[in-house]
C-alpha cells in the first residue's frame, strides 16, 4: 500500500470511530446500512472491475444471506453465526453452479443468467409463504451475540459492522494487489486474451471472483437481517441489484476502495435528494425523483467519468509517483 493510502485508511478509521459520538442516532443507523452495503458492493466491484462481468443478482445473494440467517435462527433454532456461515456456503455453491457453465463462454452470458436467477429468487421469496413469510416477510430474527457481548445497541452493531467491512476491504485490497493471485486478476482486467494466451485458465478465475462476490453479498445479507430483525422480499428485488451496480460503477471499478466511495456517494446523494426535493416541488413523492436521478447519475457517470470517483482520484498520484521517481533517477 502506498503511504497516501495508509494515511487515508487511518483517517477513515478515526473518522468512523468518532462518528457515533458526533451525530444523531438516525445517522448511526444509516451508517450501519452503509457499512453493510459496502460489503455487498465490494464483491460487485471485484467482479465488474477485474473479471469484467456484470452480475444482476447481487440482491439475490444478499437475499440468500438474509433469508438463510432468518431460516437458520428462527425456524431451525441454530446459532446466528452457524446460520451465517451456512448461508454463505449455500450462496457460494449456487454462484458456482451458475458461474461454471456461463463463464466458460465469451460474452455477457453471466449478466443474462444472473438476471434470470435474481428474478426467480424474488418470486420464490414471495410465493413460498410457509418458509419465507411471503410478501409481508418474516420477523423475530434475533440480534447477533459476540461472546458475552450482545450486539443489540446500534452503536455496538455499528462498530462491529464497520470492523467487518474494513477488514474485508483490506483483505480484498491485498488479494488484488499484494498476491500472485491478484496479479492474475489484474492481468485479466488489462487483457483477457493476453492472459489466456499465457496459459491461464481465465474462466476458473472468473468463477472464483463471482463466487467471492456472492459470498460477500450473502454475508452482507446476514448482517442486514440480524440488524433489522424483520425482512421482506421487496428489499431484495431486481431494482436493488441495480442499486448495487450503480454504487459499484459510480465508485469506480479499478480499485476496491471504489465500493466504499460509491456507496457513500450514492447514499449521500439520496439523502440530499430527500431533503432538497420536497422544497423544490412540494407534494410530489421523492421516490419519483429518486428513480430519474438514479438513472441520470448512472448514465452521466459512465459518459464523463467512466473510471468512477476513485478512478479519477487514484490515477493522478500514480502518475505523479512515476514522474517523481523519474526525476529522482535523473
Amino acid at each position: 500500500m502506498s503511504r497516501g493510502e495508509l494515511l487515508g485508511t487511518g483517517l477513515l478509521v478515526l473518522g468512523l470511530a468518532a462518528l457515533p459520538a458526533l451525530v444523531n442516532p438516525y445517522l448511526v443507523s444509516l451508517m450501519i446500512i452503509v457499512g453493510i452495503h459496502v460489503i455487498v458492493t465490494t464483491g460487485l466491484t471485484l467482479l465488474l472491475g477485474f473479471a469484467g462481468q456484470i452480475s444482476l443478482a447481487q440482491a439475490a445473494f444478499y437475499a440468500l444471506g438474509a433469508y438463510g440467517s432468518m431460516i437458520g435462527t428462527v425456524h431451525l433454532g441454530l446459532n446466528g453465526w452457524v446460520a451465517l456461515v451456512a448461508a454463505a456456503a449455500a450462496s457460494a455453491l449456487v454462484a458456482w453452479l451458475i458461474g461454471v457453465p456461463t463463464l466458460r463462454l465469451h460474452g455477457h452470458y453471466l449478466a443474462l443468467a444472473t438476471l434470470g436467477f435474481g428474478i426467480i429468487v424474488y418470486i420464490v421469496l414471495g410465493e413460498e409463504t410457509e418458509i419465507t413469510g411471503g410478501p409481508t416477510g418474516a420477523s423475530g430474527i434475533p440480534r447477533l451475540r459476540l461472546g458475552a457481548w450482545a450486539l443489540g445497541a446500534d452503536r455496538h452493531y455499528y462498530v462491529f459492522v464497520w470492523l467487518v467491512a474494513l477488514m474485508l476491504l483490506l483483505v480484498c485490497r491485498v488479494l488484488v494487489t499484494g498476491s500472485s493471485y491478484g496479479r492474475v486478476l489484474r492481468a485479466l482486467q488489462a487483457s483477457e486474451v493476453a492472459t489466456e494466451s499465457v496459459g491461464i485458465d481465465v474462466a476458473r478465475y472468473k468463477v472464483q471472483v463471482f463466487v467471492l462476490s456472492a459470498v460477500l453479498a450473502s454475508l452482507g445479507g446476514s448482517l442486514y437481517a440480524h440488524y433489522l430483525t424483520v425482512i421482506s422480499p421487496s428489499e431484495f428485488g431486481f431494482d436493488v441489484s441495480i442499486e448495487f451496480l450503480v454504487m459499484a460503477v459510480i465508485g469506480g471499478l479499478g480499485s476496491v476502495w471504489g465500493a466504499l466511495a460509491g456507496v457513500l456517494a450514492v447514499t449521500l446523494f439520496i439523502e440530499a435528494l430527500r431533503t432538497v426535493a420536497p422544497l423544490l416541488a412540494p407534494g410530489v413523492p421523492t421516490s419519483e425523483y429518486e428513480v430519474i436521478a438514479f438513472g441520470g447519475l448512472l448514465v452521466l457517470t459512465l459518459l464523463f467519468f467512466p473510471s468512477g470517483l476513485v478512478g479519477r482520484w487514484a490515477h493522478r498520484p500514480a502518475r505523479a509517483g512515476r514522474a517523481g521517481r523519474a526525476a529522482a533517477a535523473r
Binding site: P101, Y109, I242, G295, L298
Partner: protein, 291 residues
C-alpha cells in the same frame, strides 16, 4: 380439451408480443453489439403515448403510428445522446448505460403519467371469438396479425433492400463497410430507432389487453429478452420461435401448475438454455455475432 386449446391460443398471442420485443433486442445486439436493457421501456412509451393521444380525442388510426414515431424519435435521441458518444467504451460500460437509460425513461414516464393505469380501446369492437370452445378476445388477433406483418416486413427490409444489406454489412465488418461508404455510426442510429419502434409497436397492440402503466416495460423487456436468448440472440427467426415457445409454455404453466410461478418459468428457461445450449435452441452450429 377446450381448456388446453385456450392455453395454447392465449400462449401464442402472448408469444406474438414477446416476438416484437425480442426482434428489437436482436436488431440492437447485431448492430451495436450490446444487450439493450432499455428495450422494454420503448414498449411502455408506445403504449402510454398512444393511450394519452386517444384520451385527447385523436383517432386510433393516427394515434398508434404517432406513438410509434415518438418512441423511435426517443430511441434516436438516446442513441445520439448517450450510446453514440460511448462508442469507444467497453461493452460492460455500454450495457450498464442502457440500464441507466431504462431507469431514466421509467422515471420520466412516472413523472408524466404517474403510477395510474391507462386503457386503450380494442382495435376492433366485438365479442371474443370462440374456436372449438376456446374464447379469444379480438385484440389477440390484432396482436398476431401485427407481429406477422412486421416480421414479413423486416425480412424484406433486411434481405431485399440496399439499406438492409448496408446494415448487415456493418455488422459483419465495421471497417470494410466504412470503406464502402456505409457509415457504421448512422447504421447504429437506424438500428436503435428501429428497435425502439418495434418495442413501441408491441406496447401499442398489447395496451388494450394489459393496460398501459409506467412500469410495464420491465417484465415485457425481460420476457422479450428471454425469447431472444432462446433463439440465440443473433437470429430474428430464432427469436420469434423462442417467443412463441415461451408464450405457450408460460400459458400452460400458469394454467396447469401455479399462476404465482408463471413469471419464474421464463427465467428458469433462460437459465436452462444458457447452461445447456447457450447459442440458442434452434442453432445447428455455434452461432455468434459476426464482427
Amino acid at each position: 380439451m377446450s381448456e388446453l386449446l385456450q392455453f395454447l391460443l392465449s400462449g401464442i398471442a402472448a408469444g406474438g408480443i414477446y416476438a416484437l420485443v425480442a426482434v428489437g433486442f436482436v436488431t440492437v445486439y447485431n448492430v451495436l453489439g450490446i444487450i439493450n436493457f432499455a428495450q422494454g421501456e420503448f414498449a411502455m412509451l408506445g403504449a402510454l403515448v398512444a393511450a394519452s393521444l386517444v384520451a385527447h380525442g385523436v383517432p386510433l388510426v393516427a394515434a398508434a403510428p404517432l406513438a410509434i414515431l415518438v418512441a423511435a424519435a426517443v430511441g434516436a435521441l438516446v442513441e445520439r445522446g448517450v450510446l453514440g458518444p460511448a462508442q469507444a467504451s467497453s461493452e460492460v460500460v455500454r450495457i450498464i448505460i442502457t440500464i441507466g437509460v431504462s431507469i431514466s425513461l421509467r422515471g420520466v414516464a412516472l413523472t408524466i403519467w404517474s403510477s395510474q393505469s391507462y386503457g386503450l380501446p380494442q382495435f376492433s369492437e366485438g365479442a371474443p371469438l370462440t374456436i372449438l370452445g376456446a374464447a379469444l378476445a379480438l385484440q389477440n388477433f390484432w396482436v398476431l396479425g401485427t407481429a406477422a406483418v412486421i416480421m414479413a416486413a423486416l425480412f424484406l427490409l433486411f434481405d431485399r433492400t440496399y439499406f438492409g444489406s448496408a446494415l448487415r454489412a456493418s455488422v459483419m465488418n465495421r471497417d470494410a463497410s466504412r470503406l464502402m461508404g456505409i457509415s457504421p455510426a448512422r447504421m447504429s442510429l437506424y438500428a436503435y430507432s428501429l428497435s425502439a419502434a418495434l418495442g413501441a409497436t408491441a406496447g401499442v397492440v398489447i395496451a388494450p389487453i394489459s393496460l398501459a402503466t409506467y412500469d410495464m416495460g420491465i417484465m415485457l423487456g425481460l420476457k422479450g429478452f428471454v425469447a431472444a436468448v432462446m433463439g440465440g440472440l443473433v437470429s430474428a427467426p430464432g427469436a420469434v420461435a423462442g417467443a412463441l415457445l415461451l408464450g405457450v409454455l408460460e400459458s400452460f404453466a400458469a394454467g396447469l401448475v401455479s399462476s404465482g410461478y408463471k413469471d419464474a418459468i421464463a427465467f428458469a428457461l433462460l437459465l436452462g438454455v444458457l447452461v445447456v445450449r447457450p447459442t440458442g435452441l434452434f442453432s445447428g452450429v455455434a452461432a455468434s455475432r459476426q464482427v
